[in-house]
Subunit: 690 residues, 2 copies
């Protein structure tokens, strides 16, 4: 059972009842001022915790969200989120001692980002859990439960919430960054319910987050932060009962960029009347004037305020018996949190190719060249929306510390080298020589968060123009390849890259999503075989940008493993191990059905480790509906689990599915039971007839 | 005895004799092309090695030059330079295997920078050995001897030179960076010979460097790269017999910015006729046309070419018996080179104030807050004109690794925070809380090479507008001070800063010049008392910018410890220890005199360590001439040595001086013997009458 809001809401209603209208209006802004006569301290609602408490000094910096997704380990992500909740409380307890909180000092986090990474060019894609709504839902829900102080089933672990999680960006939001303040994303009803809204539904139902943030863009014509359609779905269809926040400046965008209204006052009225309670930005400064103009009534303002104060009461902000008040700074970067951070880093690295060169034997005669712009770059560990780690290990550092033999380093090139001067370092030659000197090259190419991210001067307004390696790195790769030394490519990025050339010419290829403060250590463990790789791709790796539909097109046709008809370079879910697993005995255990009495079942199978190394295996269960009357996915992930299997041993893996796993979404956006299915798990399949 | 050039010059003359005029002209450019018919490979003369092989991948990154100067340890700087020579050869041997060398791949280094750091605002001051010509000469000469492969007395250690050193920038050059391409530095004859040229004289006489680089600016009206006056002094007065190089683009500046000529052709003729043999830049591409216009004769071109090829022969570039050809990559970042690097880092840190709080006892209960923009910044280790270290230890990292108790880190502010957005991290609050949490604060303020350096978009064209801490750091300091926790300030910079407030309110103050790859480790050793500090300031620390003459004014009046009449915050030569030293028995040992039979003597004294810790002591010997008829320095450094003295022990220190130590330079720039002197060493003094 979830938190019982009754008492908190009553207390909130009583407190809000003492406020003047102007005071109520003031509390609808993210930087809510103190109301001293009522004993209310100032509170800044804006804080971030995407993969660790962010932007407020030292904190454990866990792997970026996309890297969490590649672990397919929602149990450990839950532990991460709980750790974040504790670190955040420790900081909040200190900050609060200085008086009211400023930005990034509170316990209301505008995380997780559960948008669908529908196109690899989206700069912010690495903030998400990838391209699949089910995976995104599972990871998002685990995050919410952990950070809010609930158990894995959603039961509160204390009288108060540990923190508020906020799902973002509701909805559909996924680029282009350059246009986000005025863009209208057009999505069909089918794509909305099947893809763009599904993870929101899942997270709301499974984890009851405190809040949701509206997106910058319009969706099908309505500004997301003032969308009766979207908010209606959220409350009525998904059962959301928390508060809604605007993205920062998004309400002002309604007049300034969407041109749906012609003033902040009207935008504010439109938003609050639609159900947006809290404004990040300044538009709601005009709320009192909107009231005076008759655009909004007092009850609407009062109810928004009550929702916000219910949350504050539920966080124990006005209590003297909140156990979380005792959390001390010792939680920050504790050894337990670092253990979780390391575990996720290890699990997040994906082995894409291996001809047997990996793992390397860590011999003192083995000479290793670590080459590339990402090799010794701290930023690729941290991603974005990040904190400051107390220590960190880059890829080069990780290898250097662990290797028994000589390690040579060469940056080789920048991520993007434009016109460089005559007096610049000749890095290609340096890289070539390092490769010549070595027995094996660890080639660290890719991107950094400086080149894919949020609305920025970098990249293409924050996005990527294409998914190919930048020219300077392609050149670097060829120069190093010419040295003739075996290459192990480590692609570093928060998104899919076109690695065809590397696939053809490298002896092994690994994907390193922005891996957190210990990312380099984890990678080195994998290279030397101390850790058996187990990460899986949470996004499709296409062969080239030519394979992609136009970025601005929000149709899911041709996107993600569900609808892309071509042959990807590396499919969603791909990831190798140093051992081999054999699946058998895939069995359906029928259970009570979903919508319209749809077929429903959980599954078991035996997973045998047929190799000589212990290892984790991520088991992915897909379904394809073979006789649907509308478009259905080529296949659809309906369950997964991660199992540890000792060499030679067999483990029975149990995979639960959702009640509606065997339904599809039709063109009208309705959930419809299917009839004939193929269930796929590794090389096994089952045919199921309803 | 020095290298015998006879054979090399004969070989050069023979080879040059086979060249066409056009071929000879082509060899006067820094990027000299191959002449295949003569078996001459392409050679790029431009390389840098200010404090380690620079700009060509991994190399040991020794402390920046200004930090070397603060060690007053020219013996160890000699070792550094020798190590650099070996690392550079190792790289050259590899590069050369690829064919001709490109930029930063050769063995002709445009180091050291022996300009006088006359004003703390000069951005490039940290490339120098400080404000004193004698110290600069000593350090510069040690560098030249080491890198060129000679012993400490100047005797060649091999048939060939290990590398070429190049003294720069001849002469007077020291800002403003923004105006350097057209600036006319006006200096009196007295200032020229007493200050600006003295270290060049010293280094040429003591170390016979292969080359000298002309400066960008004009000096007293003549473009330095084409100055008959300056080159005349260099050859005729100082006995220089090497080759002269232009700074990069400086010959083109003669027409483009100095407007002394109206074409590159005329500038080139002016330069080569004055004696500039090698052009960095493109002006000498017009040399053939200058010849055809009758501006330069073939013999001048031939002789320049012979000088350059003499150098190449002397470096063994056309030999098959050069032992340096065998140097392998194992020299790069060898453990021996790292030992030298660490030693210099330890010796370079200057303890400016200490009320007894230092050294810290490294107790596991001691909680330390490390705060400030320089605390965890790699760039402040590397300085400029740097290589890439294979590993490095920032100040925070050094403390964190060594401390037994908790270490908290907060960046606190940027170096310079301009207008920051609403959404920026509130770093002051974070810093305050870190301080509150701790028992002691290590406050790392100052600058990075991003804010003082060569002609750039940063700072004030590379220079500093003032010597005060930037506003954001002053604010940070006050916020942290308000926490009430004892502060140990570590000022990080390559130049003197106004630290009055820190002097008043910190319990200890240290100066960390850009300290090389192990700078942070060395600092931590000092904080915890594993190393006893022994560095001394190579520059005067003034109280404020108001104390300084105008930056553009090249008169030495009011500058440096020699002519500044005010009371500095920390004088040149200042530096404390954890132990105490007592000087006694200062004795002059008269020797044959200098110019005009000037008085001359070496000195001895007893240095007793009266404290309880072993330590190094830098003994500085000054003279003041009491009855000169012209302006003479308030005092003048004429000798120094570094001695290691065990606790309770006494060591006799021997200080040699130059023959002309007891001379002065008069207004005409002539060296004149003095008569009455006070010799000062610590609290001891001797009165000497000729």
């Amino acid at each position: 059972m979830d938190f019982d809001n009754t008492g908190f809401e009553a207390a909130a209603r009583e407190l809000v009842g003492k406020m003047t209208l102007a005071e109520k209006c003031s509390q609808l802004k993210y930087n809510a001022p103190a109301i001293e006569r009522l004993g209310i301290p100032a509170y800044n609602w804006w804080n971030e915790a995407l993969h660790g408490v962010a932007r407020t000094g030292v904190a454990t910096v866990f792997p970026q969200a996309i890297a969490s997704a590649s672990t397919f380990d929602d149990d450990t992500l839950y532990e991460e989120a709980r750790a974040i909740g504790y670190e955040g409380r420790a900081k909040y307890n200190e900050y609060r001692s200085l008086g009211g909180t400023e930005i990034y000092q509170g316990i209301t986090y505008w995380s997780p980002n559960i948008n669908i990474f529908r196109d690899p060019r989206w700069g912010r894609g690495h903030e998400t859990y990838g391209e699949d709504p089910y995976l995104t839902g599972r990871m998002g829900a685990a995050f919410v439960l952990g950070i809010e102080g609930k158990d894995r089933s959603g039961n509160p672990l204390s009288k108060y919430k540990l923190a508020d999680a906020t799902l973002k960006h509701y909805a559909v939001h996924s680029g282009p960054e350059a246009d986000r303040h005025g863009f209208d994303a057009k999505a069909t009803a089918q794509d909305m319910f099947e893809t763009y809204l599904e993870a929101f539904r899942y997270c709301v139902e499974k984890a009851h987050p405190s809040a949701v943030i509206g997106a910058y863009n319009r969706t099908n014509g309505e500004p997301c932060c003032a969308s009766p359609t979207l908010f209606g779905i959220l409350h009525e269809k998904f059962g959301f009962d928390g508060y809604i926040v605007s993205d920062c400046g998004a309400i002002n965008d309604i007049n300034a960029h969407h041109h749906v209204t012609d003033s902040p006052e009207k935008s504010s009225a439109l938003a609050i009347n639609a159900g947006c309670d809290l404004n990040c930005g300044s538009a709601y400064a005009s709320m009192l004037s909107a009231f005076e103009s008759g655009l909004v009534d007092e009850e609407t303002i009062t109810e928004a305020c009550v929702r916000l104060f219910t949350a504050r009461f539920r966080l124990g902000m006005f209590a003297d018996d909140c156990e979380y008040d005792k959390i001390g700074y010792g939680e920050v970067c504790s050894s337990e949190h670092k253990r979780i951070c390391r575990k996720l880093a290890r699990e997040s690295i994906v082995l894409l190719e291996n001809d047997g060169i990996l793992p390397l034997s860590n011999d003192e005669r083995l000479k290793i060249a670590v080459i590339g712009p990402a090799a010794n770059d701290k930023k690729v560990l941290l991603g974005n929306y990040n904190g400051t780690p107390d220590e960190y290990v880059t890829i080069y550092e990780g290898i250097r510390r662990k290797a028994r033999g000589a390690v040579y380093y060469s940056e080789g090139s920048g991520y993007f080298d434009g016109e460089r001067g005559d007096w610049d370092e000749k890095r290609y030659a340096d890289a070539y020589l390092a490769a010549k000197r070595a027995d094996v090259v660890i080639m660290c190419v890719g991107l950094s968060p400086d080149f894919e991210g949020e609305e920025g001067p970098f990249g293409y307004g924050g996005d990527k123009r294409d998914i190919e390696l930048p020219a300077s790195q392609r050149e670097l790769y060829e120069r190093v390849l010419a040295a003739g030394t075996p290459i192990i490519t480590v692609n570093v990025s928060g998104s899919a890259m076109a690695l065809g050339r590397q696939s053809e010419t490298s002896r092994a290829v690994l994907q390193f999503f922005y891996g957190g403060q210990y990312g380099g250590e984890a990678l080195a463990e994998i290279l030397f075989g101390e850790t058996n790789p187990s990460g899986r791709l949470p996004v499709t790796f296409y062969r080239s940008t030519d394979e992609l539909p136009p970025f601005e097109d929000y149709s899911m046709e041709g996107r993600t493993y569900k609808f892309y008809e071509g042959e990807p370079l590396y499919p969603f879910g791909h990831g190798l191990s140093y051992t081999t697993f054999e699946y058998s005995c895939l069995t359906a255990h029928e259970k009570d059905g979903g919508t319209d009495g749809a077929y429903s079942a959980d599954f078991t199978l035996d997973v045998k480790n047929t190799g000589e190394r212990d290892g984790d295996e991520v088991v992915l269960l897909y379904v394809h509906e073979t006789d649907a009357e509308c478009r259905v996915p080529i296949k659809k992930l309906i369950g997964f689990c991660r199992v540890s299997v000792g060499a030679g041993e067999t483990v029975t893996a149990a995979i639960k599915t959702e009640p509606d796993a065997f339904c599809h979404v039709n063109e009208a956006g309705e959930t419809v039971a299917g009839h004939t299915f193929e269930v796929m798990c590794g090389n096994l399949s089952l045919n199921i007839q309803r």
